[in-house]
Symmetry: C2
């Protein structure tokens, strides 16, 4: 149903094939997004349509993240879409950082004029313009002012799932769009120490999600001054390496100090009866994660989805040339599907039953049907043909290893369900290990700026010494288009000298070009 149309909106191509990664990584990415039915551009500039196959991945991401947030004591709430313009003036860095490319609501009424269509009613002009939220620190801290009176009201541990809008000029599906979906956590604390612990806890939650659900290894640590969130004291991040060696910032957690409490006058009475400003954190991940998922695992045959986030885990393809051949294959497929669905609900799959799809599309050739399943990224495919059935067996193909190598022939039907359940875990682990091996093999060290400039033309991250100043950071970025992605928590301490200025450095930081 929804399946079919997703092909019709693919860009017109003669051969209908996916561009290979080697030929053009950027076109390959777009082909995957279109052909697997994940998203498409809409007629509204910069806004995407997230199609059913893409949204199903987002739903699974939401479930996993929401579970992690709740396990760490957070609750969800919802704040207004609109922010009065004046709120942006209250926090200086925020105004500079975010009061730029925003959607501005100036009127609140249309008039329908017969024959002329619809026009904006000039009399319905707002006294103060409203901004469609690019992020919600301001409106939320304006609300917290009434919620926080005493130390007993703290901490406030609140998360919001919502849409936000940033008027991006150059957009790219999932990676950079004017409107996107995300979650934003906003917490308030009585002490700096507690707020900093929260900032760290949440970046570790993101790391856990990225590594254990997305099978995407990440590097964790603070951003440099030049890359931090406007309004933050510091920003912690998770950074991932895509298959083309570029970096993707996949999630950030900000320690905001008392900046927003001061801007919005949020004070509480402490245990000694004195009034203090509350301490803040905020943290968020977005539908950009789906872009990261694609660019970490997928291949030239299509999408690859780690089992823990896959909307469908197993595709079963009964085969046969005649009705006589097909009937027993369909029966065996249905029996196996029932067995898989009846496996115990496990935390590994979010307590959902294993999700199985039966492909009964006999009009198309087996090769075509298999390719469709691969395109959509379904982790395991079961082939059930007349010859397999003679032996009461089936063929099990794993999506992470394409071709013959990933196929196991002659799997006895009696063992198939439990072996597939184990295989799903194995695929999850393999995807993570493979991505980590690739990433680690593509991090190099540069010892001079000359070497750095050569190296940055190759895919991968670069360890290099930097003097810690904003000036040098900006210079490197201008000259090489590479930015400091992260100052990893676990970087080796190694004294050296900045590759640009020769000034002393306490250790190398990670540079890369990024999405």
């Amino acid at each position: 149903m929804a399946e079919k149309k997703q092909q019709s909106s693919a860009p017109a191509k003669d051969d209908n094939k996916i561009t290979t990664r080697a030929a053009n990584y950027s076109e390959w990415y777009q082909d995957i997004v279109y052909r697997a039915g994940l998203a498409e551009n809409s007629d509204v500039r910069g806004c995407m349509v997230i199609k059913p196959n893409g949204y199903a991945i987002w739903e699974n991401m939401q479930k996993a993240l929401d579970g992690l947030f709740k396990a760490t004591g957070h609750v969800n709430a919802y704040f207004p879409l609109f922010i009065p313009k004046s709120f942006f003036s209250k926090e200086e860095q925020m105004a500079e950082g975010f009061a730029k490319e925003c959607a501005v609501v100036t009127h609140y009424r249309l008039k329908s004029i017969p024959g002329q269509g619809v026009v904006v009613d000039p009399e319905a002009k707002l006294e103060e313009e409203l901004i469609v939220r690019p992020t919600s620190e301001t409106i939320i801290w304006n609300t917290y002012r009434n919620w926080i009176q005493s130390y007993r009201d703290l901490p406030l541990l609140i998360n919001q799932w919502c849409n936000v809008v940033r008027w991006e000029m150059r957009t790219r599906l999932f990676l950079r769009t004017a409107e996107f979906l995300w979650q934003e956590g906003h917490t308030a604390h009585a002490t700096q120490q507690e707020a900093e612990a929260e900032t760290l806890q949440m970046v570790r939650v993101y790391q856990k999600f990225a590594e254990e659900w997305m099978a995407m290894p990440v590097i964790v640590g603070p951003k440099s001054e030049g890359q931090k969130f406007p309004g933050a004291i510091y920003t912690l991040c998770i950074e991932a390496m895509m298959q083309d060696g570029k970096a993707l910032q996949a999630g950030t957690s900000h320690f905001l100090g008392q900046n927003f409490a001061k801007a919005f006058d949020v004070t509480f009475q402490n245990t000694e009866g004195k009034r203090e400003h509350a301490w803040a954190t905020s943290w968020g991940v977005s539908t950009r994660m789906i872009g990261g998922l694609i660019m970490t695992h997928s291949d030239d045959n299509g999408l690859v989805i780690p089992p823990r986030l896959a909307p469908t885990h197993v595709l079963i393809c009964p085969m046969g040339r005649t009705d006589e051949e097909r009937a027993p294959a369909i029966a065996a497929a249905e029996k196996l599907a029932a067995e898989l669905r009846a496996l115990p609900r496990e935390d590994f799959f979010g307590f959902q039953p294993i999700s199985v799809k039966l492909d009964l599309d006999f009009k198309n050739s087996p090769g075509f049907r298999f390719a469709e399943g691969e395109l959509k990224g379904i982790p395991v495919r079961v082939e059930l043909g007349p010859k397999d059935l003679e032996k009461q067996a089936c063929v099990v193909a794993r999506r992470d290893i394409p071709g013959k190598e990933g196929k196991t022939m002659g799997v006895p039907l009696t063992e198939a369900a439990s072996r597939i359940s184990n295989l799903l875990r194995e695929i999850q682990a393999n995807l993570y290990n493979r991505a980590k091996t690739f990433r680690d093999a593509n991090i190099r060290s540069a010892d001079s700026y000359e070497q750095f400039k050569e190296m940055i033309e190759q895919p991968g991250f670069i360890w290099a010494h930097w003097d810690g100043t904003r000036e040098t950071e900006d210079k490197i970025s201008e000259e090489t288009k590479a930015t400091i992605r992260c100052i990893p928590f676990d970087r080796p301490l190694e004294e050296g000298t900045c590759m640009v200025t020769g000034n002393p450095s306490q250790g190398r930081v990670l540079f890369a070009r990024s999405y």
Copy 2:
């Protein structure tokens, strides 16, 4: 944590008590919303903040509804927040019905001017204004044009969870706000028959949700012409009676015919190779449901939440004046909590474990603690005092029956978990039956317009004959503020004459004043 603050934003009152329903139903409603920490008005006109306790109910509603949608073959997707203004001119009724009180985006950039704050950049004016979606038929059908080519692409069964904005002048928390959260289903079909079957199926899904989860009985049937959705051929609805006898439209399902397919040129090749316009439905429910939930079940002690939607099912209050008394009470409470949480995951509770909260707030009196649990609507409270423990027993209090009548003393601790599990089901059933009894007792018949005018001043719905014309409907509405809520599917067929015009009528319809 989040708990505490929710009181601080309650309207200032001397006694901090909830207004009784008898004294002022409207104030009672507002008191419940504030005091139970469900929502509050924001500083953005007409936009509410949904607080953690309110959002937790919405999350449970979403889970239940989403499960029902998926069980009927629907998938989720996401479409842009913004709609180009010209789209509103394409469907005539839509333009008249919705192109009115809308948030209009006219600019896409702010400038931060040091010393002056933030201003709208006059150079960043959009060529075509964008409307923040009041509902998404137009943008979705504009997208469907590319998705639908052949009968094989149909049906498209898609739902969206999102926020929408309608610039309401008089707002009321949950019931009528400028921004609200909802789901909107938008389906496309090859035949009229199939689209009509879908329209009916979805109103029945809403009925099931209202009755089996919300424990809110509803009347089902089409709206009259005057009350239908702009752009629909007809609208089916579920209507509920609130405790003050007013009606609440709780959900609608629209048969849209080919109106949107024609407006947005969505055609498909049918099985005979001819091009036809697709047939459409749309259907939605919103956070307004939370208002309906409150006004169906809650009482003068606070919120009452049906167990199937309750974020917390059981509150356990260990008691004792000294540490020596408290320690065994806490131990027994923890044991019972663990037993409750370990009960088998059942569909009845959405496969979640039973949610238990331990109240260890010994600073406050038992009476205060019990009242807090009642205010928040937790279905079952367990009291564990020294005297109960001597007998290895506890007191179990049900929220739906306040006071002594709802308390069972001396429940053996060994039986408590299983009895509470049964009691939760019993409460769910009782709430439904009580609401249905109340509603049925408050539906009367009027045989003349005079009688109708008298009756309408009393709470309740009125069965009356109407000639079926828009003119008469409008006249009644203007003169009595009552509208036709529904032409129930199961109304008795009874010939008669319209109470206003004396023209023939085929049966009575339901009138009421409404929210």
